[in-house]
């Protein structure tokens, strides 16, 4: 039985702007987000009660105001997970106030996934994604303690480095696998607000004398004497850096893992979940997704032309050029015992030991066990796919999934069934 409400999964910039746009057109919307507060990773809020403004405070305020203006039509549930759409089109929601229902339409705004290239020692405690450091910093209002190094590639290295510095714990080093300074012409083609933001970050880092090592890779991480030793390589010069925490980041990918393509009602992806273009594009793309849903539902959208994403796409292509490096080509050279799949402890040697006939999506899962652990392949399949002879699409190995995340039987039982299907099952059983 179709509910009168639309479901928006993710309360970041894309999800919130989509929910507000649907509500403005008269639609009822449920927004769910698995984190304790709205805003997504980029607009994560300080939870300590400290009212000092954080980064992007003005943008966040503007977005939250747009949502607050429609509060009669938008229900928001935090600490609540979307588990998936089953074959009947029922959406299972678990956590605080979990339930099962059939939404009118779904907007998936689950943001991005961080890519972190495997290397020996990347599973050690203290080695995290950038996102973990950034969300810690934003929600606790203070930087993680101890000596921090950040490594990998992309503009976020410098953004996070500057944010940590401003918060009072400047990183020991920024180890950038790329050579961003070698692309001055491409850099100058970036729009002014982006250049200004980048210049602000660089100024903070230079003033704090943060050591920025471009063209430097973290080859491996070792643990000893309560610290992490990073073995680095800068064009053949090897150096060891001692830290307490290492943040790794090798780019972002769509977090559209295993999403169902349900033909019975509209399911539309928005924001970084559709294409990783950042927060400004995500807000615009939320509006676009809402318009697409309204169009598919045959409802009339407020007659406003949608802003173009051309500039955002151009910026992304420039950034990819500036921060491009060939790290993924070196995956084959990793030591054989390097763990690719963190959940099931599957190594590069395990992958290489699979016979050629097993290099199909199905056999990589069944015999290789890649993508079969608790993270469902979110952190290994990109690399496993690149290492296959045909460099297959990681989405093919993943396939469609239900549930989209691990869920306990208790959570399923606690989810009230408001789909109307319970009655049907009972009737057909009689």
């Amino acid at each position: 039985m179709t509910d009168h409400r639309n479901l928006v999964v993710g309360a970041g910039p894309a999800g919130l702007s989509a929910a507000a746009a649907l509500a403005r057109a008269g639609q009822q919307v449920i927004v769910v987000d698995q984190s304790p507060q709205i805003g997504g990773a980029v607009y994560a809020q300080n939870r300590t009660g400290d009212t000092r403004p954080l980064s992007h405070a003005k943008e966040r305020r503007a977005l939250f105001d747009v949502v607050a203006a429609q509060r009669d039509r938008i229900e928001i549930h935090c600490s609540t997970s979307f588990v998936g759409l089953d074959y009947q089109g029922n959406a299972l929601i678990t956590g605080v106030g979990g339930f099962l229902f059939q939404p009118k339409a779904v907007i998936m705004a689950t943001g991005a996934r961080e890519l972190v290239q495997p290397r020996p020692g990347w599973t050690l405690p203290g080695v995290t994604n950038f996102g973990a450091l950034q969300v810690d910093l934003k929600t606790a209002g203070r930087p993680p303690e101890g000596r921090i190094a950040i490594a990998g590639s992309g503009p976020l290295l410098y953004a996070l480095g500057a944010q940590l510095t401003r918060a009072g714990n400047a990183p020991v080093a920024i180890l950038d696998a790329a050579h961003p300074y070698m692309h001055p012409l491409t850099t100058l083609r970036l729009p002014l607000p982006i250049l200004r933001e980048a210049a602000g970050y660089m100024l903070t880092l230079i003033r704090a004398r943060v050591s920025i090592l471009s063209g430097t890779r973290v080859l491996s991480v070792e643990e000893g004497n309560g610290a992490l030793s990073l073995n680095t390589n800068h064009s053949g010069r090897f150096r060891t850096v001692q830290v307490d925490r290492l943040g790794l980041h090798d780019g972002l990918a769509r977090n559209d893992y295993g999403l169902p393509q349900n033909p019975t009602f509209p399911v539309v992806a928005a924001g970084d979940c559709r294409d990783v273009l950042g927060r400004f594009a995500a807000i615009k793309d939320g509006n676009r997704a809402a318009a697409e849903i309204l169009n598919q539902l045959g409802a009339s959208a407020p007659g406003k032309s949608l802003p173009s994403l051309n500039t955002d796409e151009m910026v992304q292509r420039h950034l990819e050029r500036i921060f491009g490096h060939d790290g993924h080509k070196k995956l084959n050279d990793l030591p054989a015992e390097t763990i690719l799949c963190r959940c099931e402890n599957r190594t590069l040697a395990d992958l290489k030991a699979l016979p050629a006939a097993d290099q199909t999506p199905r056999m990589l899962r069944l015999n290789g066990r890649f993508g079969m652990g608790a993270c469902q392949g979110r952190f290994c399949l990109d690399w496993v796919a690149k290492l296959t002879a045909t460099e297959m699409d990681p989405g093919r190995i993943c396939g469609q999934r239900w549930p989209l995340r691990p869920v306990s039987i208790a959570e399923i039982l606690n989810a009230a069934d408001r789909s109307g299907n319970e009655t049907q099952i009972q009737e057909s059983a009689q």
Partner: protein, 83 residues
Amino acid sequence: MTGYIRWKDRDVPYEQGETLAQALNRAGISYFGTTHSGQSHSVFCGIGQCQNCLVILEGTGPCEACRTLCQDGLSVSPVAGAP
């Protein structure tokens, strides 16, 4: 400090709005136990995508330490079988 959670046999202080992972990390605990495959349970993605920070919340079962807020009296332990 606004309260304490229980981690194994010790009390760990937390501040308002902190997750289990934040409070544990700040107390110097970054290793949360061993996974069934022998890896360390610890914070990795920090946003509920990787399941690497699973701990057992007494009375509830496994939960992600990175997205579970601290509350007074919460008792947290490594997943079953972990040392």
